[in-house]
């Protein structure tokens, strides 16, 4: 078990203030203490003087040149004026979030490939993944009633994956990690001895027992039939086809969920917690908001959309470096991996450009 590694700074950086322990990261941190494109990477890119931002732009397709077998640029619709524009470039990086990146590919070069740019392998749109979660265990800790805390740390604890590692063999493939934390109960707890009145209010105004919870995040395998497709009939307000999403978790994930609950309960009990109970609040595909896959990397153009450098096999100056490129989901938060892959692919692209290969 370790402290959760979170993208909050504890020392100021240029233009960013250290974390104020409000635990409101999800609202968008006005201190820039929590990493975000707005707080960190966009200001850095602006500083280079080479960034032009064009908001309210919906990329409708990548412009593909049959003769050079490369992309020439992109076509966009201005979301406010509905005007169409074209932008040209030597390389195109597609990072529109997993499903939208694939949507862009599906709408591109359809005169060459019916299924769109990158569809020659038959894998474009397939192998959609997420993390399944919403199950685990929690319990009460006795004692320590003379201890409390100050501030709201924006992160709890992490327990890395331990199943199906080394000699451990389970009835399912892969595994899960735990996120969790401890706190004292607040006014939402049940107080049996009071029903209504001043005593109830006074009791609820004080903290209750310490509790600790563990919630698991499990890997979803890449299944070919978990897929997204363009809807032939439904169009959005710009006349663009919407996406259909067809995905489910299967037997492997369901078996894993039993361990995700029971392992947590066993650990909490072994740690001396009381009233330990497991829960499975049921997971719906997509709730993990870690969508991955649909344009996976690979070694073989017959079975993958991108090569090992995130280049589309069918157009080597098009790079897809967001969640769409993932081949498997692992059980950890994926953003840092996307960022690392993007930095690596950008470095590769620059070198290839210099060599005159793109």
């Amino acid at each position: 078990m370790t402290n959760a590694r979170v993208a909050n700074i504890t020392q100021p950086l240029p233009g960013r203030t250290a974390c104020q322990y409000r635990n409101k990261c999800w609202l968008g941190c006005p201190f820039g203490a929590y990493f975000s494109t707005q707080s960190s990477t966009l200001p850095a890119a602006m500083k280079t003087g080479n960034l032009t931002l064009r908001p309210f732009s919906i990329v409708t397709k990548i412009i593909y040149d049959k003769d050079t077998q490369k992309a020439k640029g992109v076509e966009i619709i201005d979301a406010e004026t509905n005007q169409t524009y074209e932008y040209f470039a030597k390389v195109v990086f597609v990072c529109a979030s997993a499903m939208n990146s694939t949507w862009v590919l599906m709408n591109s070069a359809t005169d060459v490939w019916e299924g769109g740019l990158g569809s020659s392998s038959g894998e474009l749109g397939h192998n959609l993944m997420d993390h399944h979660f919403r199950c685990g265990a929690s319990g009460k800790v006795e004692g320590y009633e003379d201890k409390y805390y100050f501030g709201r740390k924006p992160g709890g604890i992490y327990i890395p994956r331990f199943r199906n590692i080394g000699n451990d063999k389970r009835e399912y493939l892969r595994g899960f990690g735990y996120q969790g934390g401890a706190s004292r109960q607040n006014w939402q707890r049940t107080i049996a001895e009071y029903s209504v009145g001043a005593e109830l209010k006074e009791a609820l105004s004080e903290p209750g027992s310490w509790t600790m919870g563990l919630g698991a995040f499990g890997e979803i395998l890449p299944y070919h039939d978990n897929k997204i497709t363009l809807d032939k009939n439904v169009k959005d307000k710009w006349g663009l086809p919407v996406l259909n999403i067809d995905a489910e978790i299967k037997e492997n994930e369901m078996k894993m969920r039993a361990d995700m609950m029971n392992d947590a309960a066993e650990m909490l009990e072994a740690a001396g917690l009381k009233d330990v109970h497991t829960y499975d609040s049921v997971y719906g595909f997509g709730q993990g908001i870690h969508e991955m896959g649909t344009a996976r990397m690979g070694r073989d153009p017959k079975t993958s959309v991108l090569n090992g450098n995130n280049q589309v096999w069918d157009a080597k100056n098009v790079f897809v470096t967001d969640g769409a490129c993932m081949t498997s989901a692992a059980c950890v938060n994926p953003s840092l991996t996307y960022m690392a892959l993007t930095a690596r692919a950008a470095d590769f692209a620059v070198n290839e450009l210099k060599k005159g290969n793109l």
Partner: protein, 227 residues
């Protein structure tokens, strides 16, 4: 803990889910102004409770969480909060149970205390609501409730199976309503402890803590953190 988590977690207090929480979480319970709603062709929401009824709800809430050395439910305008929640976030079925509950309280008041709830002494109100709290806690354990629930579950599971066989996995099963007093109590606690007076005076609140101390001394009587 944010407010939405709080809405979900208040369920632990009374058992089950907080009514209206799902809608609250999805939409923030945004009331559509009448004119806009009418223009959009949506059903115009009724004002639902009258001013008198809101004052009545305030007194119920104040009995549950009275003013002491710290503010009470009325200081947090919990009556208005309940009004908004029931009107905007409750299902018609739960709205009816809640409304009928108010009439029931008034009836018991007159039968037992020979007075309307508004005219009763605080002591009598506390006695009445304490009895209702007991009844509400025992409600889901009664034979009558269990029989009705079993029948409803059977019916709804059958409907769900039919929908599933048609490929629709989103059928929302109907469920039994809670006891009306459970509704009133959970809304009172939610409305009060997440309000400014509740969070900053009954509890402690620090908008920008600026540091974290995972182990600081606590003495009995120190207030809990609001968030």
């Amino acid at each position: 803990m944010n407010r939405r988590q709080a809405v979900q977690k208040v369920a632990l207090l009374v058992g089950g889910t907080v009514l209206g929480a799902e809608l609250f979480i999805q939409t923030g319970c945004k009331t559509t102004p009448k004119k806009e709603a009418a223009e959009a062709g949506a059903e115009v929401l009724p004002d639902f409770f009258t001013k008198d009824e809101i004052a009545y709800l305030d007194e119920i809430a104040e009995t549950i969480l009275p003013k002491t050395t710290t503010p009470g439910a009325k200081d947090a305008r919990v009556g208005e909060f309940m009004h908004a929640m029931v009107r905007d976030c409750y299902t018609p079925q739960d709205q009816q149970v809640f409304k009928d509950g108010l009439s029931t309280i008034e009836k018991i008041s007159k039968d037992k205390y020979k007075n309307g709830f508004m005219q009763m002494q605080p002591q009598q109100r506390t006695e009445l609501l304490t009895a209702l709290d007991k009844e509400a806690k025992e409600y889901t354990g009664t034979d009558d409730y269990k029989t009705k629930q079993a029948a409803l579950d059977k019916e709804e599971n059958a409907k769900d199976s039919v929908e599933r066989s048609k490929g629709n996995f989103g059928y929302g099963k109907a469920r039994m309503s809670k006891h009306y007093f459970s509704m009133m109590k959970e809304l009172t606690l939610l409305g009060f402890f997440t309000s400014e007076p509740g969070a900053t005076k009954a509890l402690r609140y620090s908008a920008v803590p600026g540091k974290y101390d995972g182990c600081m001394p606590y003495q009995k009587g120190d207030k809990g953190w609001a968030t």
